[in-house]
């Protein structure tokens, strides 16, 4: 009886396992086979090398050198910098919003949540194209800023514009999980801290922040992962080499060059880098779970 019950519960993992194998493990293996494969002599398309024993790592070495000290180094560092800046701004804007929604919005909570989410029902691409219109030289935003004497060409390949685009595109994915975490906090602990003499900043720093750490990390990971691979924000808002991100290079190598394996290699390099983030996330959530149960 116990055995059949165990099998039943284990059976629930089958769809997820199949999903992971079919839509993650197999595609990832194909990317690796392309990355360590060759280029077709006639059509210059990727010829995957299916046997790991025959993988060719010469090109991977070139890409590693390029990322470490060659032309791709600048792109890699810039991508990290842009994502870091965008995350700081996302937290600076998103945390107070989530905090307000969770703590002080009262009856308006649902309406405010909907108002935050509604614009994001529109496709990301369309929203970025709307920004292109707003920021163009005769765009509404540019003309509005001229009233205050600010005459700035936002679309001239400025890093600021790309970072703003990233923030705008991903901030709801930060607010929602943060709101979920903050809403579940036991606010009596914060009140207890205040009763014991902590001022509001100390209560926030010593009680609210540690208790919401798991949500902060989850929200950060949730926006950082897609930001690192993002290429169309830069494509639409800049298109300047000086703001090129790693996703743009992947797009170029895969779609418009005769070296698709370079694109696959960059995908692998980015995946390994992002694995570090995921490891951190898993470690943090594991710790948080142990603290809760312990």
């Amino acid at each position: 009886m116990l055995k059949s019950s165990h099998r039943l519960w284990a059976g629930f993992a089958i769809p997820g396992t199949v999903w992971l194998i079919a839509l993650f493990a197999v595609p990832f293996y194909v990317v690796a086979c392309v990355a360590f494969g060759t280029i077709g002599p006639i059509f210059r398309d990727a010829v995957p090398q299916w046997s790991p024993l025959a993988w060719d790592f010469a090109q991977a070495q070139q890409i590693a050198i390029s990322l470490a000290a060659g032309p791709l180094q600048g792109v890699a560092l810039r991508t990290i910098f842009y994502v870091a800046c965008a995350m700081v701004v996302c937290f600076a804007v998103g945390f107070p919003v989530a905090y307000y929604l969770a703590r002080h919005a009262g009856k308006q909570k649902l309406m405010l949540l909907v108002l935050i989410i509604v614009p994001f029902w529109v496709n990301y691409l369309m929203r970025m194209l709307a920004w292109v219109n707003l920021l163009s030289t005769d765009g509404l935003f540019t003309r509005f800023m001229r009233i205050f004497g600010i005459n700035y060409n936002w679309l001239d390949g400025s890093p600021v514009t790309v970072i703003i685009g990233l923030v705008y595109g991903y901030i709801p994915f930060l607010i929602l999980p943060l709101f979920g975490t903050l809403e579940r906090l036991d606010w009596r602990l914060v009140e207890a801290a205040r009763d014991l003499g902590a001022n509001s900043w100390q209560a926030f720093r010593l009680v609210t922040m540690p208790m919401s750490k798991a949500g902060i990390v989850a929200a950060g990971i949730l926006i950082a992962l897609p930001m690192f691979g993002d290429y169309y924000t830069n494509d639409l808002l800049s298109r300047s080499p000086s703001t090129e991100m790693i996703g743009n290079q992947i797009d170029f190598f895969l779609n418009a060059s005769s070296q698709p394996q370079n694109g696959a290699l960059l995908v692998l390099a980015l995946s390994i880098f992002l694995l570090l983030f995921m490891s951190f996330y898993l470690r943090s959530t594991g710790q948080a779970a142990r603290q809760t149960t312990g």
């Binding site: 006639i42 210059r44 170029f252």
Partner: protein
């Protein structure tokens, strides 16, 4: 025919990948394949492509139903298409491609199954032929073929125009906003230098095409080979582009026709046809005279073409569409929307100017037969050479 057999026949027909270069030269053959086995024609070595299947027979009736087109975005006038549909009682369905590489890949794996392909160039043609994706044309259905520019009736990449009929012609140059940039900026000294001039920083763009933009840097440095394999020249071009990036922070895209028209940038290294297309994108009330074009003395000229797929479901209709685009009146109507200049002898510069659709400031963007002949050809590169070009392009675009 199996692909392996086809490639064998291709090798025989074109001089053979198994023949060494010296032997091929000794034979004095006018055709050659590159080291990849692709049938690449060059102006110095024109090529007659192998024919492995017969063209359709004369006098067949037109098919009914739908004609499938594969084309670039905005590269056919919807009005022209409507006229053709009405005339032949058919429906036309158009799929869009972004790059020749992606289009060839999707044609090979069957994602695209068009009857007719519009806008490919000779570098794409070599791959289409190698993949045995095209059928030879039957000129019986193309009475208007005689309207095609004479020099292109027998192009170097497809002698006797067995598979292709030229569609549009264009040359590379610099488009600019004549209301903001003095045209003398291009004529005082080396016109290409404008792209390196810091006073225009943040206001300019170059083509997102490594072959075109690196070649432009080579022309600026005084070289006149758009297909060079000299590592030093390629490296210098890459370094010059990096210097340009530092001096002027250019954008890299293919949006000149929109962005110049919208006034979002002032200078754009681009294809001449883009400036003619830009006229359609000018905001209401803006004079067409705000657009200008500098046509360099040393530059690339190109044409693209129409061709029919081997497995076309409506090959007769596909021939008729090609013939339709070769008709002077239909081509003029098509041009009104597309902007680019039809590759027809009958559409002269005088006719275009007389049509009243070309402002005086853009007459320089029109490609005269003399300009076309003086232009440099761009052909496929050997893989190792291509890699050198791409390495420099990556160094430039990676910022």
């Amino acid at each position: 025919m199996r692909r392996r057999d086809f490639l064998r026949d291709l090798a025989i027909a074109t001089g053979g990948v198994t023949l060494g270069g010296s032997l091929l030269a000794a034979c004095g053959g006018s055709a050659k394949t590159n080291s990849e086995g692709l049938p690449i024609g060059t102006p110095d070595n024109p090529i007659k492509l192998p024919v492995t299947t017969k063209p359709i027979a004369d006098g067949l009736p037109s098919e009914s139903g739908t004609l499938e087109i594969l084309n670039w975005a905005d590269y056919q006038n919807p009005e022209s298409i409507a006229i053709f549909e009405e005339k032949f009682g058919v429906t036309i369905s158009t799929s869009i491609y972004d790059t020749e590489e992606a289009a060839v890949a999707k044609l090979r794996n069957g994602t695209f199954k068009p009857d007719i392909i519009v806008g490919m160039t000779d570098t794409g043609l070599a791959k289409l032929i190698a993949a045995d994706l095209l059928q030879p044309l039957n000129k019986w259905y193309l009475p208007n073929f005689g309207n095609v520019i004479r020099g292109l009736q027998n192009p170097y990449y497809d002698l006797e125009a067995q598979y292709t009929v030229p569609y549009m012609i264009y040359g590379n140059g610099i488009g600019y906003r004549a209301d903001r940039i003095d045209k003398n900026a291009f004529t005082n000294g080396n016109g290409y230098d404008v792209l390196w001039d810091p006073q225009y920083s943040g206001r300019l763009a170059v083509l997102d095409s490594y072959r075109d933009t690196l070649a432009m840097a080579m022309f600026r440095a005084g070289h006149k080979d758009a297909n060079t394999s000299d590592p030093a020249i390629i490296k210098k071009a890459g370094e010059d582009l990096i210097a340009m990036r530092k001096a002027t922070n250019p954008k890299v895209d293919v949006l000149a026709y929109q962005e110049l028209a919208a006034g979002n940038r002032d200078i754009n290294f681009t294809w001449s046809g883009d400036l003619l297309t830009a006229l359609q994108y000018l905001p209401e009330g803006v004079s067409p005279d705000v657009l200008g074009f500098w046509y360099p003395e040393t530059t690339i000229t190109k044409n693209d073409f129409l061709c029919i797929t081997k497995n076309a479901k409506a090959p007769v209709l596909a021939h008729q569409l090609i013939n339709f685009f070769c008709d002077t009146e239909s081509a003029m109507l098509n041009r009104e929307y597309v902007g680019y200049q039809p590759a027809l002898e009958t559409i002269t510069i005088d006719l275009l100017i007389a049509s009243g659709t070309i402002p005086e400031s853009l007459i320089g963007a029109l490609v005269t037969p003399e300009k076309y002949d003086a232009g440099l050809a761009q052909v496929s590169l050997e893989p190792e050479v291509d890699r050198l070009w791409l390495d420099q392009w990556t160094a430039f675009t990676a910022g």
